[in-house]
Symmetry: C2
Subunit: 469 residues, 2 copies
């Protein structure tokens, strides 16, 4: 039935010419490089950490996402002739800087939370180490990818929690930038969405894609009955028929007539109060003998709307706008901060935006039943051995009974990916599995849809208990 | 001083392989195509309109943006071998559909609001005409581009209004998807931002790029004084020094010392209460003889924060997160609806989501002083001449005294751009000029930063006065 198409267009024009990712960054990365090459700071050993100062109000945890996309983008962060020509022509860089850029590639180390990992504020989720010059150039790219993808993942995780066992389908591509749409579908899949409408996400990341028809399809035919017959003829009776173009009651009758009561796969409801409409639809389907026909609800759903539908006869949820816009929090709030230079902690002291110097480790401490009780942030021992060791973590954090889980794992060593399966479809599959597994150790309230406090305290070695807010 | 770099990397790996834009769409576009090819609906003449049902709460107007990007993406919306192979391998399309796709390109007509045009709800801002099949395929791409870019433009326009004569700089790339960042910088420039931090936007769209340094640059040196000296040595005394890494007062003293009181271009303030900090900074700079040194404020600014700074001694604003996330409205709410099939109006009747059938024209009616008084939406005369003409527009809309301005202009004819200058940097320059000019005819309150009602009523011929809400 599936046969390869034999007619290939002779001319396929492409809008996206081959390009480095190096211009997906801010002008100031290049001027800093220029000045640092001149001052000598460029060659200093630097450690940058990525963290958020807080979660969006009411959220219980965040989810790290985008890591695989980021690692691929960093591999391709090179300055080719076109980039260097632009930078020199506009006077952004001088000749020495241009020469340096021409042979640039990141040769440092990156560790980070596994993609899909739940996180709390103030804990470093990515650590980038190398020369100041090679690390500072990555700031914008790192933040763009992680801020976007993690925002979608965190919102999506709440929708999945609200949906329970019912599948959620990502359908929001049309409500966000066309490339952000691909990343959003990817992030949603990592946190448990069953499928996406987005074809590029299917091709690039192995996310299952789904879709049947829109209202326009029905309107393009002389009647709803004709449209449904056409869809069933092309896609089979197990398709999903959109029944609310005109009148839902008549639409359901037409759908069952077109596909057969025992055959119709599903109906989709996209308007009206979903609880009311779904109940009426279920009753009508059952009455028509279409008890096996499923009900898909779409239209401005978010985690709260999904939670309200828990007792309604709905089989799956299509989520769009609210997912791809982060359900009110469209960016994750990550910052990229220099914390160590040549082995010495550094930190800015800006009012309200102070940072903690020194490279850190993060452990998730598990209680006796395997449930996490805190995330512990510890300074790495410095050259003089002065930093506190894990043993000095103060009460009231329970001592470790099982193994604490170290959350920062190696991603890049000397500029090379530690594992090719971190990127592409393999990386997505791994992140999805990791997310599911990591959620199991969070406290019971973590997946509550109601807004509340972060689900775990973050404890800084030497500072005593501190609950992130 | 500027010399071309001669060292070109021998291997520049690219993450973005040449690609069609055809997969930046939803699965269901393809299944609809498949079913419509089989039913015959594929060949019907279709008219799709893009409009919003409402503006974000409190907004006075929207701004159409993304048109140039969209037109370029539509030119490249072709199904090559890789796309067709995926679609057939996954059973999304059958062999007949694959054959049809192989020779597909859009050959219809597109009219729309000029890029940069202010718009009100319920007025079509883009009209796509052709066969049902060729038009329905573009739905997702059209909406993704316009929903994203117009959301940023509308938010940015409010910031520009709040800033008055002071320049606004776009610096939000790190808070949004790395490609959305480029589009956001482009949209911000169209509505009047002076420059961006984003290098790709500079290269692709001719947006001026700016930037100097981050806190990390200061931290990478042994002292702030050394960092400032390094920056001045590399970038000149007319640079912008970031003075709040440690203590703002000491920072300003160091900055003036490094660059010279009569030479220092600007200081940047990124933390603390900006009104208080800017006043103290201005007083200190003046006292140190740096009266010509400008003050740039950054850090979580939006239109309200900018308005509160109107009386503070600030010279320019750097705007990030709130701009690229649409200042609370990250998507513009555009939908793409089939309104006419083979010359007959069609409309869905879904609860709360009904549409108006029939292809429409939109006129901006200007009052005697050249200020707009309403947007008029008129059905185009159909074959039987039954649609109302502009003359039938009811009171209380004043009759036209000057020329009504027709807002829908030709963009694509028979699949070809009507003007190559609609895309790329030329399109951006034109949109920026058009936006500035079009704003002048809006009512005085349109640019108020305070939330309020849409600034113009939308009047439907034959329906009497109606104020959009």
């Amino acid at each position: 039935m599936v046969r390869r198409a034999v007619v290939i267009p002779t001319l396929v024009r492409m809008s996206t010419v081959p390009r480095s990712t190096a211009f997906l960054t801010d002008h100031y990365e290049l001027t800093m490089l220029r000045a640092a090459l001149r001052s000598g700071a460029a060659g200093r050993r630097a450690v940058f950490e990525v963290f958020t100062r807080s979660l969006p109000a009411g959220r219980r945890y965040g989810v790290v996402a985008g890591t695989g996309r980021l690692l691929a983008a960093i591999e391709d962060f090179r300055f080719g002739a076109a980039e260097i020509e632009h930078l020199t022509a506009y006077g952004v860089v001088d000749a020495d800087t241009a020469d340096w850029l021409a042979s640039y590639r990141f040769r440092g180390d990156i560790t980070g939370f596994a993609e899909g990992e739940p996180f709390l504020p103030d804990t470093p989720v990515l650590v980038v180490e190398g020369t100041f010059a090679e690390c500072v150039l990555l700031e914008t790219l790192v933040l763009s990818v992680l801020n976007h993808d993690s925002a979608i993942a965190a919102a999506g995780a709440r929708m999945i929690a609200a949906a329970g066992e019912r599948p959620c389908l990502e359908m929001g591509g049309r409500r966000t930038h066309e490339q952000a749409a691909v990343a959003a579908a990817r992030a949603a899949y990592i946190v448990g969405f069953a499928a996406t409408s987005n074809l590029e996400a299917a091709r690039d990341y192995g996310v299952p894609s789904v879709g049947t028809s829109a209202h326009a399809f029905t309107l393009a035919h002389d009647s709803e009955a004709e449209a449904f017959a056409a869809q069933v003829a092309a896609l089979g009776a197990d398709t999903t028929l959109l029944v609310d173009t005109y009148d839902v009651h008549a639409g359901i009758a037409n759908a069952v007539a077109a596909a057969g009561a025992g055959e119709l796969g599903a109906i989709r409801l996209d308007s009206g109060d979903p609880v009311t409409v779904a109940r009426a639809a279920r009753a009508q389907l059952d009455e028509l003998g279409a008890a096996a026909t499923r009900i898909v609800v779409t239209g401005d759903l978010d985690e709260h709307a999904i939670a309200r539908l828990a007792a309604a006869p709905v089989d799956s949820y299509g989520v769009g706008t609210r997912l791809v816009t982060g359900a009110g929090a469209p960016t994750a709030g990550f910052v990229y901060k220099l914390v160590e230079v040549d082995g010495h902690p550094v930190a800015k002291a800006s009012i309200g935006k102070a940072t903690r110097g020194g490279r850190k480790d993060v452990l998730r401490r598990l209680g006796p039943d395997g449930t996490a009780v805190a995330d512990l942030v510890m300074s790495r021992p410095l050259a003089d051995g002065s930093a506190p060791s894990p043993a000095s973590v103060p009460s009231p954090v329970p001592a470790a009974r099982g193994a604490d889980r170290s959350l920062l794992v190696p991603l890049v060593r000397s500029g090379e990916l530690v594992d090719g399966a971190l990127v592409g479809a393999a990386g997505v599959a791994r992140a999805r599995a990791h997310h599911r597994s990591a959620l199991e150790s969070l406290p019971a309230g973590a997946r509550d849809v109601a807004f509340g406090r972060p689900c775990l305290p973050v404890v800084f070695a030497g500072e005593g208990m501190r609950t992130s807010a």
